[in-house]
């Protein structure tokens, strides 16, 4: 038996607008850029919704109706949910309709799609709880499985997640994590047999997510029956095939004219042609299949780049500096009690901001460049740090305000 487990990551950051040193102290609206279309969050959201979210959710709904066996899962970041609530509530409705079928599982993550765990476990927990509340209030669902930003994972993190009561977690089926083992089984976290791990089959996942429209790929063009054959080959050597990818794969990374929707439309049918195949959600997978040993992951892994580590967000001095400055403000920001300030600080934690500063592949230009709304990693850093400078200024202003209030209130 091999069960296909689909999970789609749905996320959009609040991109920081063009913000110069001359805006510091005067402009506090960091995330509203209507001049630069690559930084205009509303416009980007509308575009992605039109090209990807709306057609794909409609298609998935159709498929769920047509194939009673079909199942999928999503993780939708808080930063996206609030943008959708503000600008495109119809997208939320389309997700609600999917969830109502009972065959769509929602997962938890950090509300801000952040790297908080690396710098502050307290802040990490707050954001996970924030996301729990959000998913509950929008979808009336309490997720049991957790996925961290960009599938970042290590033993320490699993410890934390086990403590929070989750029964499963997603991570990258990286070679350096698995060694000789197959990603197509369920494993358990080190020292936490009750926390089950689902590992992304990166080969098969990336055949869809990255290679589908690549004309230089020897398997191009990929159709659903060929792909279903590859999945079926796992039969006998594995139990669950985890196909984890960005939801934007459908319609945004691969545009409609690549045939990606046609591929998706026929995929469940083709997979079901093989009698041994079926579908599971992450919770079902960990309930149905025994775990085949413990995974020891002392260092951070992720699903990003060929390195599958933190280097996409944390490999040059600028990224380290920006992160250090941001989390260095944690105590004071939280103490300020200024809700807008706290909210802005948290929006600045979204991993995308650090991804934009990555210089790893800058010279060659590639996937990083494609996903970078700024001209260069340097522009991204400068822009971001100007905002941090303003954040610090606001912090000073608000603490000065508090001292003034205190002195007024205190008896003479």
């Amino acid at each position: 038996m091999s069960s296909v487990c689909f999970y789609f990551q749905v996320h959009q950051p609040h991109r920081v607008k063009k913000y110069t040193v001359f805006d510091v102290g005067s402009d506090r609206d960091y995330f509203k850029d209507s001049h630069n279309e690559r930084l205009d969050n509303k416009k980007i959201l509308e575009k992605v919704a039109r090209k990807a979210y709306l057609p794909t959710t409609a298609l998935l709904y159709e498929l769920l109706k047509k194939h009673p066996e079909f199942k999928i899962s999503f993780s939708i970041s808080g930063t996206l949910l609030e943008q959708l609530e503000e600008h495109l509530p119809e997208v939320i409705d389309s997700f609600k309709r999917l969830v109502a079928t009972g065959r769509v599982e929602l997962l938890n993550e950090t509300y801000y799609h952040s790297l908080a765990f690396i710098h502050s476990k307290d802040e990490f927990r707050r954001q996970v709880e924030h996301h729990q509340r959000k998913i509950d209030s929008v979808f009336a669902v309490k997720p049991k499985v957790f996925r961290n930003t960009e599938l970042i994972y290590c033993n320490d993190l699993s410890q934390e997640i086990a403590k929070m009561g989750y029964s499963g977690m997603l991570l990258e089926g990286a070679d350096h994590v698995l060694g000789w083992r197959s990603p197509n089984y369920i494993y358990s976290a080190k020292d936490n047999p009750n926390l089950k791990l689902l590992l992304r089959n990166y080969k098969l996942s990336d055949d869809i997510a990255f290679r589908f429209s690549n004309r230089h790929w020897e398997e191009f063009p990929l159709n659903s029956s060929k792909f279903a054959d590859w999945v079926s080959q796992v039969n006998g050597t594995g139990e669950v095939v985890n196909l984890f990818m960005d939801f934007e794969t459908f319609g945004e990374h691969h545009w409609e004219d690549t045939g990606i929707f046609e591929f998706l439309r026929t995929l469940p049918r083709e997979l079901l042609k093989h009698p041994d195949n079926d579908f599971v959600t992450p919770s079902e997978a960990i309930e149905r299949y025994e775990h085949r040993g413990e995974l020891d992951v002392p260092d951070f892994t992720s699903w990003a780049d060929i390195e599958r580590d933190l280097s996409a967000w944390l490999s040059n001095p600028m990224q380290a500096d920006a992160m250090k400055k941001l989390y260095g403000l944690e105590k004071k920001i939280l103490l300020s009690g200024d809700e807008r300030l706290i909210e802005d600080w948290r929006r600045l934690q979204t991993s995308d901001h650090f991804y934009y500063m990555c210089t790893k592949w800058f010279a060659d230009g590639d996937v990083h460049k494609y996903f970078n709304p700024y001209e260069t990693p340097y522009e991204a850093f400068i822009n971001y740090m100007n905002v941090i400078a303003d954040l610090k200024l606001r912090l000073k202003e608000s603490s000065a305000l508090r001292t003034r209030r205190k002195t007024k209130l205190s008896p003479k």
């Binding site: 040193v21 040059n316 001095p317």
Partner: protein, 436 residues
């Protein structure tokens, strides 16, 4: 009270001292001959008697070509006391007894030495008229040289030697390559194009069998303003120049007090954007007060820029050094926290590579050729002084940003070498050999 500026210009003079002549680089040992082409190269100047980047670029390219076994005969218009071990040098004026006194003033950049305060309009006109006729005279004399030399290819650098190249081609029928380091549109910053120079350039470009340009940026100009077809043009980026690297960083005591040094380096002409630099400087000082701006170079805008700094009330933060060479140049690079090249139109911009090779971060104009070859530099529109100031402030404020720009930038700059440029030129030479 001693003026802030006076104090610093004193400190500065102590730090940067006198200027020395550039020494010629040595031949590297690993020169392996791979080709045997003979090239007759026409130039205008060579170091140490060079007034700008053209002479340096010609020298470096010729040297790298000879390292690959190309035999270069380099022709200069006037006799000069230069000896270069790997080049056969010829002087077009030899045997010609008519030496005009104006020759000592000859200079490839008409605008730079001719400040309106030094010369009247009619003198300026006479001067440029004489320069143009000198260039044409160089062309006539080139015929004799071409007829007496043995070579396969003619390679002429910039408009000053285009007529020489064209005449040599006419006399011998050998293929002509013209190499464009700058066009009249760059030199004049887009204003007051000298029609005679434009004509000479156009004739050279049309007569050439192949055109080598220093950037895509220049290629677009040649297509747009001279009506040349794209497939005749080959882009060969300049390389990093071998520098006298002895000069040590200066102004340390001063920098310890928290001051930062931002450098401008280039002729003070419209083309190089010294006025934009100054406008940005004024804006930087509003948000980052402890900065000293050093402006290196001379030119017709020097007085204007000095006066403007005074009017802005920032004279005490802007130092003018005049022309600087060699050891002092490397001192400048090492002292500066950052180099800004706000050129209005820069065909290439070797200075940016030089600065990077000293691990000095750079901000460069998007209107430059060098912007095509380096990623680890901050790029700006020369007119966007808010953005230039924003970026200067960022580099001065964030050590992490400096570190990235320095380390990655240096590595990248070093990849741009003259051997690479020479190999591309050889590729162009070969295209004629194979089409024969």
């Amino acid at each position: 009270m001693a003026k802030f500026g006076e104090v610093f210009s004193r400190v500065f003079r102590q730090a940067f001292g006198q200027f020395k002549r550039r020494s010629l680089g040595k031949m590297p040992k690993n020169s392996s001959p791979v080709v045997g082409e003979k090239v007759l190269m026409f130039g205008w100047e060579l170091p140490p008697f060079n007034s700008g980047g053209l002479g340096v670029a010609c020298f470096e390219l010729a040297r790298s070509l000879t390292q690959f076994g190309v035999k270069v005969t380099f022709v200069l218009p006037q006799t000069q006391a230069i000896k270069i071990p790997f080049l056969k040098l010829l002087f077009a004026d030899q045997g010609n007894l008519r030496v005009k006194s104006v020759k000592t003033k000859l200079h490839p950049y008409i605008s730079s030495k001719l400040s309106k305060d030094d010369l009247t309009e009619s003198e300026k006109e006479r001067y440029s008229q004489e320069l143009v006729s000198e260039v044409e005279g160089y062309g006539r004399r080139a015929v004799k040289i071409a007829k007496s030399e043995k070579f396969d290819i003619i390679h002429a650098h910039d408009w000053l030697s285009f007529p020489a190249g064209v005449e040599a081609k006419r006399a011998t029928g050998k293929p002509l390559i013209v190499h464009v380091h700058a066009t009249e549109f760059d030199r004049c910053g887009g204003e007051c194009v000298d029609a005679r120079i434009y004509e000479i350039e156009k004739r050279g470009l049309e007569a050439a069998d192949k055109i080598i340009v220093v950037s895509d940026f220049t290629k677009r100009k040649i297509i747009k303003y001279y009506g040349i077809s794209a497939d005749k043009i080959e882009v060969v980026h300049n390389g990093l120049t071998s520098l006298d690297r002895k000069g040590k960083a200066s102004l340390e005591a001063f920098k310890k007090t928290g001051y930062r040094v931002v450098l401008f380096l280039g002729r003070m002409t419209l083309q190089k954007g010294p006025d934009w630099f100054l406008k940005a400087a004024q804006k930087v000082l509003r948000v980052y007060p402890k900065v000293l701006f050093i402006m290196v170079g001379t030119g017709d805008m020097e007085r204007q820029v000095i006066e403007e700094a005074a009017q802005m009330g920032i004279s005490d933060r802007v130092l003018f050094t005049g022309y600087v060479k060699n050891e002092d140049l490397s001192r400048m690079y090492r002292t500066a926290d950052l180099y800004v090249m706000p050129s209005v139109s820069e065909p290439f911009g070797i200075v940016a590579l030089e600065a990077l090779s000293y691990k000095t971060p750079v901000i460069i104009s998007k209107q430059s050729g060098v912007a095509e070859t380096v990623n680890h530099a901050l790029k700006v529109d020369f007119w966007d002084t808010d953005e230039i100031a924003n970026k200067i402030n960022a580099i001065l404020t964030h050590p992490s940003l400096r570190r990235c720009l320095k380390n990655y930038g240096e590595a990248e700059a070093k990849k741009n070498n003259w051997r690479k440029a020479a190999l591309k030129c050889i590729g162009v030479y070969r295209s004629f050999a194979s089409s024969k």
